[in-house]
Amino acid sequence: MSTLEKVVHVKFCAAIAVIFGLSAANAADGPHFGQPISAADLAPWDISVGPDGVGLPPGSGTPAQGAVVYADHGCAACHGDNGTGGPGGPLVGGGPLNATDRTPEKLIGNYWPYATTIFDFVRRAMPWQQPKTLTNDESYAVTAYILALNKIIGENDVMNAETLPKVQMPNRDGFVSRYPDKH
């Protein structure tokens, strides 16, 4: 907001305060046309999952269970058998990121810094034709399947709210933030 816009905005709020006979402190609270909502009532939309695991729901899944989900939901149509690629891009592979001979692909195994992002994206956006229909167990299972395909976890490892944030992704330290220093 420009200085001028700020001045106009402050003046507007001050005018509202005069009209309703409010003190300056109350005026800062604004017009109040929102409706309060409880954490329980907004929970169906609160699907954010942080890299520390905050927000991960109960449930669990294994790579073997994930292979079944992957087959049942036709994931191979976009991502290929065993995640080897298709119109939606591959889920495995990815060479060294400093390769000089070709453009490196930014894939899960060579690029993604956090395993929690896989679960988060699967749960909110996949499968493309029917997003938000997988159960939490199914989302954990598909995540485990993808991580195992990339040999980041073992074939029998169980992914849940406790284990998933602890998975060390190979490119965890590959990023430099441009904010706030360089903007």
Partner: protein
Amino acid sequence: MRVRKPRHSDSPPTVAGNGLLDRRALLGRGIALAGAVGTSLTSAAAEPLTNGPWSMAPGVPVPPYGQPSKFEKKVVRTLSNPNLEPRGSAARTPHHLLNGTITPNGLHFVIARGGETNVDPDQHRFVIHGLVKQPMVYTLDALHRYPMVSRITFLECGGNSAPLYSKEPIQASVQAIHGLSSCAEWSGVLLSTLLEEVGVDPKAKWLIAEGADLPTMNRSIPIAKAMDDAMIALYQNGEALNPSNGYPMRLLLPGYEGNMNVKWLRRIKLVESPVMAINETKQYTILLPSGKAWQFYFPQEVKSFITQPSPGLNMAGPGFYEISGIAYSGNGRISKVDVSADGGKSWAPAALQEPVLSKAFTRFRMPWSWDGRPVILQSRATDEAGNVQPTRDALIAERGPPRGTPNVAAFTMEHFNAITSWGVDDKGEVSHVYA
């Protein structure tokens, strides 16, 4: 009264190589264009005038919602995914067929990951929660009761201009190369108004903004930007948002990467640190030659490109032309646009069309007398923060050499704001070149 004798200096002087003329000739400041081009009076005489059928019969009923002329059918966006296959869709603005600075709503660029989302405004809800005193839900009707602001601002996809990051110059139109950038007037409620009302916990340093579309698109945004000039936009060029641009509400973060301006906005959660969404850890990160990648690169840096002439708009022989284009910066106002007709050897300042607004398209114009010989046209913008649009060579030194010549629609690089070069050959054909 003294009659002023025409003097030689009243015709526009050449100000840079290959026939660039003084921009003051466009501004009515005592320099006439007449005389600049000696051949202009040699055209054949015009045909006699006649009445067209449209002058000799009634027209058609005026429609309730006006559409462009039926003779303008070629002025459309190009679509990357016309049959909505299961992947993202891009629609690009035809800059070479437009003028001025405001993009019509139907031609505004679009990136959509689940197609155009059609939200029922009566059922739509927008929630603010997380590190706040009281989580609140807003209906569209409720938002309409808040004080609103309007501002003209550009939006640009972080991957716009990616075709410049190619080994060989990709032969494509300015629409294909720079079409993921548009400018509109947006009206809505300042996000700070709502954040002050819900009471933000001082621990909150970021917010997560999330859409109601297929992938529930989400991005992390610094609280400083949210409290500065962020808007919940409800109107686009005076009418409700276009469905492709987030109807009934979108986040607007002037100057920031397009993807962060979350469309079909349904949720904002105040948090302590970024959520590390797919679009801030995989997409919209810039892989450097070292193997490290830049993350959270938010502002769209100073950029310009010439829209007329440009590839596909070939020139009709020697004579007078106006070189015209668009400049903008996510860091503020455009302070200067220089134009070159000799591949960057000499430059002269273009006229900037008023108003020159912060974080908005600025139209630049440059009078030019083309002598019919091959030239290379370039534009170079500077913003009020002193940032100068870099050469392609300078950006490539920073990002590493491109490894191939990808498909023109591929996103092999982000935030690539290098100078664009158009070559004009002796037949007047315009092509994309590196210079």
